[in-house]
Symmetry: C2
Subunit: 378 residues, 2 copies
Amino acid sequence: MTGQPAPPRADLDLHHDLDLHGDVVDLTRSLCDIESVSGHEATLADAVERALRALSHLEVLRDGNAVVARTSLGRPERVVVAGHLDTVPVATLDGRRNLPTWTTGAGDGLVVHGRGTVDMKGGVAVQLAVAADVTDPVRDVTWVFYDCEEVEAERNGLGRLARDHPDWLAGDFAVLCEPTDGTVEGGCNGTIRVEVRVTGVAAHSARAWMGDNAVHRAAAVLERLRAYQAREVDVDGLRYRESLGAVGIRGGVAGNVVPDECVVTVNYRFAPSRTPQEAEDHLRVLFEGFEVTVTDCSPGARPGLDHPAAAAFVAAIGREPQPKQGWTDVARFSAMGVPAVNFGPGDPLLAHRDDERCPADQIVAARDALRAWLAGDV
Amino acid sequence: MTGQPAPPRADLDLHHDLDLHGDVVDLTRSLCDIESVSGHEATLADAVERALRALSHLEVLRDGNAVVARTSLGRPERVVVAGHLDTVPVATLDGRRNLPTWTTGAGDGLVVHGRGTVDMKGGVAVQLAVAADVTDPVRDVTWVFYDCEEVEAERNGLGRLARDHPDWLAGDFAVLCEPTDGTVEGGCNGTIRVEVRVTGVAAHSARAWMGDNAVHRAAAVLERLRAYQAREVDVDGLRYRESLGAVGIRGGVAGNVVPDECVVTVNYRFAPSRTPQEAEDHLRVLFEGFEVTVTDCSPGARPGLDHPAAAAFVAAIGREPQPKQGWTDVARFSAMGVPAVNFGPGDPLLAHRDDERCPADQIVAARDALRAWLAGDV
């Protein structure tokens, strides 16, 4: 007898061990194949934590299903590189489930298909590969992997870290590895939603002249929306295109009643040079004469490309930076005073689509660019 | 032993025996106090049938909760006098249930309060009182009491009789004892509802310029509605006022999506000189360029006041006849080729209201007028 056998290790699952030193495209597929729809990231977060703990140059921290790993080399500058672990739900397209992943083409034409390949396991693979490879970066790095980006804002893992562990996110500059087709997309537009309420007087529709039809009166609101010319605004050298329009309309209680209320829901995506209050004021002027209620609002983020670390990053990528029109978590860094950009493999227009897919060479190129920037090769 | 005692008669309930020869206002209250919300008319229909069977000059027929009683004196003319037994649900107003009935005032100022006093137990009381009193009418009379007028058209008791026993409803002229404030209201407008569908192209609201907003495009539909001038139309000497307007609008699927569809529901109340097809055609022209779908339609009814029996009835009432703007079951008689008018006690604007109430003198006056017309006293 040499003693009792060791108990099975519950946290060890060879199928879920990630190889950070191998092919970054294979790593992308491994990350995708550990299904991690929002709220179900535990298995993937465990695998990421385990892989990072094997790297002696990194300190690893954990909060819920968020994992943070960082160097502490005393560099004059610290950068944060962040990505989310969750995906939107797995779907079925033409009878085929879009997980596990599969590939088409070969060589330069290799494409990885499946849920998460664009949004954003390709970006997470780039993060993990560079975290493992660049053991002595010229800038201190904090790698952030978080949960619940694809669901309600209050569940967002990056928001939770900002509330509970703001020191984990401290830095001079941040890169969010959301898909950008491999270019740098700076900042993001803000978004505000309001309800514009039009009132009238109810009546039986057989005696409509005794009422005042709120739906008819809403024509004035729709005309203002139709006539509205959205701005294009230069902010820190990038050109942001605004959007303003109805995302919903409702009115009426029964088939024989003149409606006494009609509500138009309006979404305004505003350039990051405008504050949420300025955006709200703009809408109140536009819809003067009607009751305007703000239902939700998130500020935009300035691109911050004038920051030296950002300029160096743009130079390392070697392509013209672009504005990000949609809202992303870069705004959370912006709110903490950390300039942030989006940079990652994959076409953002394919995100959330059932036929989500990413060219393998974009993943490799993003890995090479991020590695060069952190290794000081550019 | 003189034999076994007779078994108790299940159909005899003294509390529900109606006195057709007494005070017509008391009779109104008795009819109201036998609660008979649509679908629950059996107790009241039983009481009405029992009271009518006690009258030897009438033949009594029964179908479900509809009761028909008629004379067969070989008169050259037959008139149908109809009313519904059901009410909308009992309600509570200022902590008081609006059944059983109560009264306020006295003498000429006596008012009966409670559910059904207007719509239309006052009218039913007038029918029953005259049915009992005029045993030898100058016109043959068919008295019709029916169920489920206040609910979906397919449950309507008069519609069921028209389908299953059209001979029971045969006549030269019909009076529907719906509340009209004691005047004759001729015919009724028709009603048609359509959905006007405006289409567009969906897009993410952060890139609204890639879509075509269907809600914005609906402004054109609302402008046409707002500009529309409803007609007033003379039909057989009465002036009908049409109505046309939105009764509902809906559009939008999510707070970040440019809507690709907006549906406006429009209700058109059209004068009885227009057929349903003509009404539909009118709407298709008005909304040219948009998809128009008819969801429901009921024809109007011409007043038919040029018919000799109708003219005699108007003369007996002695007040200027008025057009009926709302849709009523006179249209069912009209569809069977029987001219029909509305005539009954109670202000139609109080129908369905929780504070429904009827002046007692209107009930008496309506009883007197109907009795004089049938007795040949005018």
